[in-house]
Symmetry: C2
Subunit: 400 residues, 2 copies
């Protein structure tokens, strides 16, 4: 049990000016809530465009489907990765063209495929024979990319074997897809969310290249690589600059597919956490500080926990920076949420080092909480309502 | 990796007649949803009353706060354990008297204590000095019981050290409570949810008895024991009959507090899972059956998963019985949910043995899903709506 080194500066996450504005904006609002800084989303999008001009960005809506975020990205020309027909409906309502949508969930009911097809979606992910047959029957002639298994080594939020298939199975499915009248377009992979080891992309791209060659031998020209998500947001560990990270990935593409961007297959990236994570600040209140034993660490209870939106703290996987304006001597706190569920503990194995002067009623700020928080929050757990979200634009404006 | 022995009979969970009625009731409804059989809740309540006539039942609302469930229990004379002011509001709306409510969450904001006090709540749980002082200031003169730490050994959904304090700290808080004008009433403990080892109650009751004696030495007469929840529902393992389980606990009370029920302190129990768990049947559809590798187990994807309400499958802790009407030769399936989250896998280490004849589009039934499911479900994760609930009374009636 070591206390995590919590020596970060406010400015690692937000400018002093923005922080003051955020405090002003949120001072009369009842905690807990997330504030999304739209301009951060815009900046991240622009940085990624600049770093990978050859790639198409499909924003993974599930990371943060707030309307203002989606509208901003629609305006900027982004495409979108949808996980369900509900996300499809949301995008169509907001005016996104169906040819900018990819149905990226490999787990689909036949009627949901049919529904998406009828709405104009023509690009689907697949990883099983059964799904290929359902696509052929319900989305005839559509473009399909095939997901390969990846073990997610090096990622903070690792992958299981849930998605993707072994390359041999994928290859069989590519042949089947052609046979049943679909257009096999290429390969997708996902290196694991919050992936800190860029070389994982090389491993996956090498496999793609091999499948491309084998398909060519069978007369199938694959021309699409969907590199999924995995780009990190900045939690407690500093992450590489986007341009550095992307330059590495571009080098791997060159290694396997050609020296010039024009020689690359079509490249898709699906940033979710990368795009929305850094844009969120969760404002919470200290509910209680308790000493359970005469010796031992104090417990710090916040009004936000695992079921209020911080489910990614399971096994302490994702480490949100916790900021307080209190200063002075620090000590280690176990940090937990407000519900009666004993599992609702955020950081215990790796407690948080925070000032002794912290008091009940204080506000604390959890940075990098723009992705996979609000939509994960439970609908009525222990009676607590789902996490609220506010969007802060140039001028703060409030949304439902 | 061993396949779990899945040899249960339908009638272990539901009568054939009720099952036919449930199928009829649900045949035109879009999965996934939970059907709550009200008469099961009523039966469990009555059984517990009969087995512990000396105890007061405080239903733990958080397990299943469906209005029909709460109304039934209000009518039957139950008291209620609330976890938040939101649950308080719900109970008051439904007409429950505030003197039948216990604010059982030890993590409370000062203003929430004040709010509950103003609404008439006079019974509070506490486990810290800070909370005692807040209670004194915001709920003067109220009854307080003090929670002791328990390690939850033997429970399927174990406790952490989040709730309760060491007996020495508890004792200090009892003295403090008297000093600041509160009425220290007694001790509460929780042996862990889905507790299969009844002797855990003896360990806790022994500690209670010791604190009672020490308090008496200081002139404080404690007269309340809150035994919390922990009574098991029937998942895949058979559980003891309520009356057998309760007879054991009653024996432990006799051992420490007197031969006759009249000599017992006031006894409170807070069943949640016990009361609502068995009453729920979750109806789901097979979305996809996929082979990831040429060798290896097939994956069975349902339209319900961890984020749709089955979060208690984390670490495969709670094992829901999965029932299909298909028969014949069986094989092991890895079972997973429908979202794009790789963590959304239900049973992989211990896969499910189900018929080979299972097909996509089939309905499967997950029994014992009446507790800690619907309210845990995420508000919009991957776009999926929260889990729907229907209540089946003598005549099926639909609710929002």
């Amino acid at each position: 049990m070591h206390a995590f080194d919590y020596s970060f500066e406010l400015e690692d996450y937000i400018t002093k000016e923005d922080f003051e504005r955020l405090k002003e904006f949120s001072k009369d609002k009842e905690t807990p809530f997330v504030v999304v800084l739209l301009k951060t989303v815009a900046r991240k999008y622009d940085e990624l465009r600049a770093a990978m001009p050859y790639a198409k960005i499909y924003y993974a809506i599930k990371a943060n489907p707030h309307e203002e975020v989606l509208k901003l990205l629609i305006e900027r020309g982004s495409c979108f990765d949808i996980a369900s027909i509900y996300e499809l409906d949301l995008m169509l309502e907001l005016g996104a063209a169906p040819d900018r949508l990819s149905y990226g969930n490999t787990i689909k009911k036949a009627r949901d495929i049919r529904y998406a097809y009828e709405k104009g979606v023509r690009l689907f992910a697949s990883d099983s024979e059964s799904d290929v047959r359902k696509l052929a029957a319900n989305a005839p002639g559509s473009d399909v990319f095939f997901r390969i298994l990846s073990d997610g080594a090096g990622a903070d939020w690792p992958l299981s074997r849930k998605f993707g298939a072994h390359p041999e199975v994928v290859f069989d499915n590519i042949l089947l897809a052609r046979e049943v009248g679909l257009r096999p377009r290429g390969i997708s992979f996902h290196v694991g969310s919050q992936q800190n080891d860029v070389t994982q992309w090389r491993v996956a791209l090498k496999t793609c290249h091999k499948i491309f060659e084998e398909a060519a031998d069978k007369g199938i020209k694959l021309d699409l690589i969907n590199m999924g998500g995995g780009l990190p947001a900045r939690y407690v560990h500093p992450v590489e600059e986007t341009c550095v990270y992307m330059a590495e990935i571009t080098d791997y593409l060159r290694e396997f597919f050609g020296v010039f961007d024009e020689e690359f297959p079509d490249v898709i990236v699906e940033p979710g956490r990368y795009m929305a994570g850094d844009a969120g600040v969760l404002v919470s209140e200290v509910v209680m500080i308790a000493q359970k034993e005469h010796e031992g660490r104090p417990w710090l209870f916040l009004d936000i926990g695992k079921f209020g939106g911080l489910i990614e703290t399971i096994e302490e996987s994702i480490r949100y920076p916790v900021y307080t304006e209190r200063k002075g001597e620090a000590r280690d706190y176990v940090v937990a949420g407000p519900t009666c569920d004993s599992m609702d503990v955020l950081y215990e194995t790796n407690p948080c080092r925070l000032p002794i002067s912290l008091e009940e009623g204080d506000r604390v700020y959890l940075f990098t909480t723009g992705a996979y928080t609000q939509t994960y929050s439970a609908v009525f757990f222990n009676g607590f309502p789902p996490l609220k979200v506010y969007v802060m634009d140039d001028l703060p404006r409030e949304t439902a």
